[in-house]
């Protein structure tokens, strides 16, 4: 097949037949100043655009959109492009490799080191909202929490590690995703039971055929279920 398609090819294409769908905001200063530099040099974009073919002689940018914006600002008629295949995965990984999106790790299974590095990355960002979060503590508490059952990142806000509800926990979504396991019905670990809501605990109690649980407080429910 590779023999019969342009995939993998470096091609010199008219800017006009390439569509850029990138909405991310790029600094106008960076674009204009880079365009000037490009014009002052040979005018060749040595770092290529990454495009996919969407129809005959129609292409769409999937990576290095910045170069598209610069080429446009520099008034280039043609740009050098790498032709990629049109799969979703290719688009995703290309944007990650181009530094345009942040890769995520699976928090359900990640190691404590991975969690630590991810938090370090977030805290080191210039516009971070996580200032003051103690990375070592947060990483350790997240690691030890029953995160394999988490449906979302909210339980982190209950770990007392400075990551509070709202934009702080939201910021974590940039680097973490979850593939939660379903919680077994016979779970007795009070630490895990404590992370559940009262309603969830009652459901569990019903499944285990307890009676008279409906008026119990959360603490008592945990107590009942952990026996």
């Amino acid at each position: 097949m590779s023999n019969l398609s342009d995939v993998g090819n470096l091609m010199y294409l008219d800017l006009e037949i390439i569509e850029s769908s990138n909405e991310t905001k790029m600094s106008e200063y960076l674009i204009q100043a880079s365009a000037k530099e490009l014009n002052n040099s040979s005018g060749r974009n040595w770092i290529p655009l990454v495009v996919k073919e969407v129809a005959e002689d129609r292409y769409q940018v999937i990576g290095n959109s910045f170069i598209y914006a610069v080429a446009e600002a520099a008034g280039l008629e043609k740009v050098w492009c790498i032709i990629a295949d049109d799969s979703q995965e290719t688009a995703k990984v290309t944007q990650i490799l181009a530094g345009e999106t942040i890769p995520k790790i699976n928090l359900s299974t990640a190691s404590v080191d991975d969690i630590k590095e991810a938090l370090e990355y977030l805290v080191s960002q210039p516009a971070t909202v996580l200032k003051g979060v103690k990375i070592a503590i947060a990483a350790n508490r997240i690691d030890e929490a029953p995160r394999q059952y988490w449906q979302d990142l909210k339980p982190i806000t209950k770990l007392g590690c400075g990551i509070t509800a709202g934009k702080k926990v939201k910021a974590l979504e940039q680097v973490f995703y979850l593939t939660p396991q379903s919680m077994p019905d016979d779970i007795k670990d009070s630490k895990i039971l404590n992370t559940l809501t009262t309603a969830e605990l009652k459901k569990l109690a019903k499944k285990r055929n307890f009676s008279g649980y409906s008026k119990l407080s959360k603490a008592k429910l945990v107590n009942l279920l952990s026996k």
Partner: protein, 467 residues
């Protein structure tokens, strides 16, 4: 710059669409032909294709004995109702019941296709450009151009979900019948007379009053351009090919090749010659600017201007030959009976290269175009002794046997087109003439100079193309 890909808008009226889906849904699982016809084809399918009652003749007499095809169709004009004249059909439909399996390559599919082919080639159907086989579960559209019949769509599986779309697309194809048949003349082996075939076939078809365009797509050798002594026009083919914005009109690069006969009669066919830039550029560079589909796309812009577009291609399987075959409806493969490699390469083209091309073409057109098929091979211009003929046929029989074992592809029809049980293994032979070879020095197609050469190529044209 942002643009959107044009969405094809369906042009069937919503009533017709609903009827089509409804009728299809209501067909019993094993409906026999009469019911498929009565409850689906005649009630909604033909209407949806745009053929009213005046435009159809059921049980159309094909002229092949007393045999009739299920439907002959043609759009009637004011004073020319097809129903009344019953002449010059545009489309033939061979209908089957749902109890007959028309899945691609099933036995009954093959028989039905053969049946349709026979009808399309019979005397009352010369005007037919299209043939359809369907049993309301599968449908396939075939194009007929002169004598050549090739699939215009794959054999499509019909469902209530896709019937509207399929019908619309078939309708569109039928309404936009292109005038040209695009033929790539190709063999992976050199020295089998590709260029000679292209030039003389073009001249012959022109003498038969066909409008012909010849494309020299072998820029390394540019034999065709040189043997006709053509100087590229001001606009270069190379610039046209690399123009992905459709700004350079292909017509600007076309050069006429005119022959004036004694007595002042002139005839002309057109040529797209190799220009010096296209000749100089190497494959790596060409692939930075031109795609495999570029030639096909450019030629599509003149497909209503010519009867035949013949493409000369280089003896390899690289950019130029792939582009040529990708652009073609059919591939004509010259071979030499005494050159076993040329026969093996023909087999390789048919069982390996063409399926690859077809796959890409089908993917790129969402399964609506089939891609190039091969015409049967022919022996090109050598004197063949009876013993040599026997040897060549032995070699071919070996090749066919091997292909059947290895790839399950039956090459018989491509080598022995007249093969029937009881075995007819005749292969078309283009007779040898010293004049053909010598003509290269005269910058003139041999058929224009020598009556006997014209006769030879006329036979070739009639064997393969002219009806």
């Amino acid at each position: 710059m942002v643009f959107t890909i044009e969405q094809e808008t369906l042009q069937l009226s919503s009533e017709l669409e609903e009827q089509l889906v409804e009728d299809l849904k209501n067909l019993p699982e094993n409906a026999p032909e009469a019911i498929v016809d009565n409850n689906f084809i005649s009630t909604s399918f033909l209407n949806a294709l745009g053929f009213g009652l005046q435009d159809r003749v059921p049980e159309f007499k094909t002229g092949k004995g007393t045999k009739a095809v299920d439907y002959g169709l043609r759009f009637s004009k004011d004073n020319d109702l097809f129903l009344h004249t019953q002449a010059n059909p545009h489309v033939l439909i061979e209908l089957k019941g749902r109890d007959i399996n028309l899945e691609y390559n099933s036995n009954s599919y093959k028989t039905t296709f053969k049946q349709l082919k026979g009808y399309l080639l019979s005397s009352n159907c010369k005007s037919a450009h299209w043939g359809i086989i369907t049993n309301s579960k599968h449908i396939q559209l075939f194009r007929k151009h002169g004598k050549v019949i090739f699939p215009a769509t794959p054999c499509l599986e019909i469902s209530p979900e896709n019937i509207v779309d399929i019908t619309y697309k078939i309708k569109k194809k039928i309404e936009e019948t292109s005038r040209a048949l695009t033929v790539a003349v190709y063999n992976n082996k050199g020295g089998v007379g590709k260029t000679t075939t292209v030039i003389n076939l073009a001249a012959t078809l022109t003498l038969h009053k066909k409008k012909v365009l010849v494309v020299d797509f072998d820029p390394n050798q540019k034999d065709l351009t040189d043997s006709l002594n053509i100087n590229p026009a001001e606009y270069k083919f190379y610039h046209c090919l690399k123009d992905k914005k459709d700004l350079v009109d292909l017509k600007q690069v076309i050069c006429p090749y005119t022959k004036t006969f004694k007595g002042g009669k002139t005839i002309t066919f057109d040529v797209i010659p190799v220009d010096n830039e296209l000749a100089a550029i190497d494959e790596d560079q060409i692939r930075t600017e031109i795609s495999f589909h570029s030639l096909r796309k450019k030629l599509a812009s003149v497909k209503y201007d010519y009867d035949y577009i013949l493409i000369d291609s280089p003896p390899n399987w690289k950019f130029h030959s792939i582009s040529a075959v990708y652009a073609a409806d059919v591939v004509l493969i010259p071979t030499k009976h005494n050159n076993i490699r040329s026969l093996q390469n023909a087999a390789k083209t048919i069982k390996q290269y063409l399926p690859e091309i077809q796959q890409v073409r089908q993917e790129k057109t969402q399964g609506l175009e089939w891609g190039a098929i091969s015409l049967p091979i022919f022996f090109n211009g050598e004197i063949i002794s009876p013993a040599a003929r026997v040897n060549a046929k032995k070699a071919i029989t070996e090749i066919i046997k091997k292909a059947k074992v290895e790839t399950k592809i039956d090459l018989t029809p491509f080598f022995f087109p007249r093969h029937k049980p009881g075995s007819n293994t005749s292969i078309f032979e283009l007779s040898n003439s010293a004049h053909i070879a010598n003509s290269a020095f005269n910058k003139l197609p041999a058929v224009y100079r020598y009556k006997v050469v014209y006769d030879y190529y006329s036979q070739l044209a009639k064997e393969y193309f002219l009806q």
